[in-house]
Symmetry: C2
Subunit: 126 residues, 2 copies
DNA sequence: GCAATATATCCACTATTCTAGAAATATGGA
DNA sequence: TCCATATTTCTAGAATAGTGGATATATTGC
């Protein structure tokens, strides 16, 4: 993941309807939710929401599948994982954050230092 | 941090000039960089960059201070920390990510499971 | 084949964002 | 005080994004 890959993801998450829809899908898990249910829960007209779901889908942060008459959307955790890793690796200084893979558990372990306690930043604050 | 707080941060990072400028500031550390140096390194006209720096600054993800004739910008790591925590807590399912504070070291420890290996998601892929 | 359901696409309108030239402001030095 | 430097603010035009009514498409059951 580089800057060019990250832009459409940040863009996808930078609008209230989309971020809210994405969070509902995260809560829903791999099973996902049909477009209509999202529209109802968010109180957003179905065509407007459809526009935003396409946006999220184009960015790759959600995916869809048809089930009968419904289109079921679900969060793409792997993309979210990559975005978080990008933010830690490329958008945090080494002093404040580190990431390493734990092969045994299959986890990425991130350590975020509570940077505000560090003296350098304290004195630089405006 | 909630959805309303996160939107302006995602928005700030969702544009190439801004994300690139932010990353330069991250690399620069607490010391920061003057607006002119950023403008030069990015090849962006200084008034255009000034617009984007205001945008980042309004979002709170960078801050500025005057030093002589220069305005020095620097990344706000604490806000980035909070945004990453928000993404893990509220935009990742419990199965795939967890976060806890280590009081002794003052670090937030995040574990991101490599979700794509989990059978549930594998079979749900479109 | 027809009606009902679920969703996407088309369209026009409004609002916002991005861009960069020109002018304004703040600072430091002679 | 005057000039050079560093940066912001003003401005207007171009591009892009968001909205929702109307319509089209796909699916299911009768």
């Amino acid at each position: 993941m580089d800057v060019k890959d990250a832009i459409p993801l940040f863009d996808a998450l930078s609008q209230e309807t989309r971020l809210s829809a994405f969070r509902l899908l995260v809560q829903a898990g791999a099973q996902g939710l049909p477009a209509g249910a999202l529209s109802e829960r968010l109180g957003t007209p179905q065509n407007t929401l459809s526009f935003h779901l396409s946006h999220l889908s184009n960015a790759g942060i959600i995916q869809s599948r048809r089930e009968g008459r419904s289109i079921i959307y679900s969060a793409n955790y792997e993309v979210m994982h990559r975005l978080i890793s990008f933010m830690v690796k490329d958008c945090c200084s080494d002093e404040f954050a580190s990431i390493h893979e734990d092969k045994r558990s299959g986890c990425s372990i991130i350590e975020l230092a509570d940077c505000c306690e560090l003296p350098e930043t304290k004195e630089e604050k405006q």
